[in-house]
Symmetry: C2
Subunit: 266 residues, 2 copies
């Protein structure tokens, strides 16, 4: 079970995201949390705080977004609550089933494990940077990535079956979310920044906005990729990007680590 609050102005803007996109994204971030435990999502419950002047069409589109994100993974919205509110508020809770398997938490990483990721990294952050800079047009796929994440849902339960020792979805940024695994597991995680291919569109977005695309990959949230540790080679589709050692914290090698390491990204 997992829950998230989405607040207009903080987690989404109605001028940057359609109601349909808000629905897809709100569903996706909760479904990804379920997948990151190794579970299959079953039902969503949605609390809505709605301004009195909200068009009914907006709500219809929101509902369609929830439906289209949930249906392919076999889940659905099963209930909720509606209130009037000055600002749009969504409180989303998702329920999943492990079918008797133990959950994969953040606490199981062991020295010697490999660190691997699957799904997109840095795309949503680049899309948001483009929107903020006023340059969204040239790279619509990145803006879409901000509006509508594509978490690799099926990879979560699969990784669980194939022996993942710890797992999380990347919602706060890879370095920070791996930091949660490191502290919960009582280990140190070394990330090799050179392991990440930098797609052309990220490089281009970096040029347009004056940002470093590798920084988006390492610290951008909202793509809801999955990151996990494995005692042996990761399953097909996972990119090995580091390893677990004794100690504490996260170290990123192969990349600029001035300014006191990675704390300045947090």
């Amino acid at each position: 079970m997992t829950t998230d609050l989405l607040l207009e102005g903080r987690h989404f803007r109605r001028d940057w995201s359609s109601a349909y996109d808000v629905g897809r994204k709100a569903a996706a971030q909760n479904l990804a949390d379920i997948a990151a435990m190794g579970a299959e999502p079953t039902a969503l419950f949605v609390g809505l705080g709605l301004p009195g002047d909200l068009p009914v069409e907006w709500l219809d589109d929101l509902t369609a977004g929830f439906r289209d994100e949930c249906t392919p993974v076999g889940a659905g919205v099963a209930g909720g609550d509606i209130s009037r509110s000055d600002r749009l508020v969504l409180g989303v809770t998702a329920l999943g089933t492990l079918d008797g398997r133990p959950p994969v938490t953040r606490a199981g990483a062991r020295p010697g494990d490999l660190l691997a990721v699957t799904g997109r990294l840095g795309h949503a952050a680049a899309g948001l940077a483009l929107l903020q800079s006023g340059h969204p047009a040239p790279l619509p796929s990145l803006v879409d990535a901000h509006r509508r994440p594509r978490p690799p849902y099926a990879s979560g339960p699969e990784a669980a079956r194939l022996g993942a020792t710890a797992m999380a979805d990347v919602s706060d940024g890879l370095v920070q979310d791996v930091g949660h695994i490191a502290s919960a597991s009582g280990v140190r995680v070394e990330i090799d920044a050179a392991a990440f291919p930098v797609p052309d569109d990220l490089t281009e977005a970096g040029s347009l906005t004056g940002a470093d695309p590798v920084r988006w990959i390492l610290t951008g949230g909202d793509d809801h990729a999955l990151v996990a540790t494995f005692p042996a080679a990761p399953p097909a589709g996972w990119l090995t990007v580091g390893r677990v050692v004794e100690g504490e914290g996260v170290r990123v090698s192969g990349y600029d680590e001035v300014e006191g390491g990675w704390d300045h990204f947090r």
Copy 2:
């Protein structure tokens, strides 16, 4: 499973309710929803949207309120989410277990059933009226009823075991919540307004504020009493207040029904 959004200014005011009271009430209204299905609550998940200037003590007191409402019924807060927000927002989801029993829904009332209630009715509405009128001091127990409902949690699963055919908690007001049972069950429910004893403090609050205490009993929400239908005499502790007949809608007898019945209360 049930979910509710609580928004500052709409569902609570920080100058009228302490953080502790907000926690108790937020937990209570969700736990009561679980009880009204005939289930035992197990876990709460709380999403919090918090203003940046909120004192940490406020959050500590809120947590204590949740704990003190949950612990006696064997539940606890098992997870959640925190965001910054201009206004305080609480998104509360509660999970319960039926231990294999079927849930008691609103749809099972049948002609011939008796309608019964347990728990307080009208107290929270009277307390709110006193706060709004500026006369809260003389009747602190009613103001407390607004701040901190006392739902009869154990009566829900007990009623389920003893054959309740439909059940709801009174959150919107008795007439309205019974209306939900009537429409879901495809029946008509007759409420006998004379069946409700009017406690002295409600009478006194009515005099102070110029309101009709019976109206509070029939239409006041937020006490989270339970209302249920039974095919035979209700269990001990339940007050019989009406009956189920063929037809549709809710009729309140023994009380003023001008102005088109009860729609004007809604």
